[in-house]
Amino acid sequence: MSETSTASVDREACKGHGRCYMTDPDVFDSDDDGFPIVIGAARTPAELAELDRAVNNCPERAITVVATP
């Protein structure tokens, strides 16, 4: 299976905790104000697990996993 996933961040819900880029720096980075930017995708099972961890650690429930276009 060659599924590739990335993240979509609900900008209304996100309050800049930073848990996503702390947890999965391959997919998320921080902008100058501390809000996340999506910079990558997850391909391998290990990478997909890291992305899931980022989703589940978000205290605002602001992240969804989406298939890369």
Binding site: K15, G16, H17, G18, R19, Y21, M22, S30, D32, D33, G34, R53, N56, N57, C58, P59, E60, R61
Partner: protein
């Protein structure tokens, strides 16, 4: 159909006093009982107020600023501030305007630049601790680190850290044991000294011309098309002090108490410092210092309970973070816990703006303390003294260095 409960319903009445010294050691049992029996409870204290204790309910309050205003976040209503603390006591839309100005000052990237300086301050404090067999960890480390880091961040004189500690403790605690009137009096007096100090810093730095200087950035800060007033700058700085000092102090102290009493967990951390990031999150969940309040702006039903416009509600983050419906095995510390979406820094618009700095301080402190002092223990003859209040903390923490239980 179940009937709505309200402030008159006896079954959800609970005599909860957030400032009571009597429950400082047992508040987690109190919260557990409240989550079980009356997850939205009415306390008769301080003129009557609500207390929500479940994770989902507190989340609902935090995420709904239209109903749950931050115009007053304290019970009783003042800690000595002159006007609203900015931006924690400001609602949308003004809140976002202030946050846009303040967020970059505490961004992870800006905080990362402070890391070497924080590590240096941390190690100076540890050098001093290592000269003694027994220290009061509060004086020797937990109070000193956040105040020195705050002064370093501001570029102010680190020699003033003791003054800052005194002010922050007084404003948070009032006068332990004193009545409400006296507590408000000492808080107000301390707050006035803080404002005077800040006003002096503003005067000194008004023309410094240093584009990176935080005081300068605030002085030149704008609220839409006008400059910030001195009153606004003072109330932003006041919040930096209240938000940044006593909170980190309590977090450090609670962590050291836990690690002293649980050598097996401490040894796990000492043996693998790569656990520090998740350990920091777990200890934030385990002991969340802050218990803010909100003002209900319109009649609202929260978890089957009728709240009325004008009511006040306390939302202890510590209780949310011990809710078994959100965290499996919530009363066990697991340094590798994942996921751990705790709300020690709140949630919603008012998420703690200093959270990135707090995390950095905690990470460096956890690393350096456990690298250099792998063994420490409490003194059974001289146990730590905890306090409650809206920022839970520890007053004294006698610690024996170099020994383990």
């Amino acid at each position: 159909m179940s009937e709505l409960k309200d402030a008159e319903s006896a079954e959800i009445s609970y005599d909860f006093d957030i400032h009571s010294p009597d429950i400082a050691d047992t508040v987690y049992d109190v919260y557990a009982e409240m989550r079980e029996k009356c997850p939205v409870a009415h306390s008769p204290r301080y003129g009557g107020h609500w207390v929500a204790t479940k994770y989902d309910t507190i989340h609902e309050v935090l995420r709904n600023p239209g109903v749950f205003s931050s115009e007053s976040v304290n019970v009783p209503g003042t800690i000595g501030q002159d006007g609203p603390m900015i931006p924690i006591e400001v609602d949308p839309p003004d809140h976002q305007i202030y946050r846009k100005l303040i967020n970059p000052l505490f961004s992870p990237k800006r905080m990362a630049d402070l890391e070497p300086r924080i590590r240096e301050i941390t190690n100076e404090l540890i050098d001093e601790m290592l000269k003694h067999e027994k220290v009061d960890f509060i004086d020797a480390f937990a109070r000193a680190l956040p105040s020195k880091v705050f002064l370093a961040l501001m570029g102010w004189d680190l020699g003033d850290s003791e003054k800052f500690n005194h002010w922050a403790d007084t404003i948070v605690l009032g006068e332990p044991g004193a009545d409400e009137e006296r507590a408000t009096e000492v808080r107000t007096a301390a707050a006035m000294e803080v404002y005077a100090y800040f006003a002096e810093m503003i005067d000194e730095r008004a023309d410094s011309g240093d584009a990176e200087d935080i005081t300068q950035i605030l002085i030149n800060g704008r609220f839409e098309d006008r400059e910030l007033t001195q009153f606004e700058v003072l109330n932003i700085l006041f919040l930096f002090l209240i938000g940044g000092l006593h909170t980190v102090q309590g977090q450090l102290a609670h962590t050291v108490i836990y690690m002293a009493e649980h050598p097996e967990v401490r040894k796990q951390l000492v043996g693998d410092l790569s656990l520090v990031p998740t350990a920091v999150e777990e200890m934030l969940r385990w002991e969340s210092a802050v218990c803010p309040a909100r003002v209900v702006k319109e009649d609202y039903v929260l978890d089957g309970v009728q709240l009325k416009a004008g009511d006040k509600i306390l939302i202890p983050f510590a209780s949310a973070n011990h809710d078994g419906d959100q965290f499996p095995d919530p009363d066990t510390v697991d340094l590798t816990r994942d996921p751990n979406p705790h709300i020690a820094f709140g949630a919603g618009n008012h998420r703690c703006v200093g959270s990135h700095l707090a995390r950095l301080e905690l990470r460096i402190a956890f690393e350096e303390l456990h690298r250099r002092i792998p063994d420490y223990r409490l003194d059974p003859a001289d146990p730590p003294v905890r306090h409650l209040s809206q920022v839970k903390g520890v007053l004294t923490l006698p610690l024996i260095i170099g020994e383990s239980v």
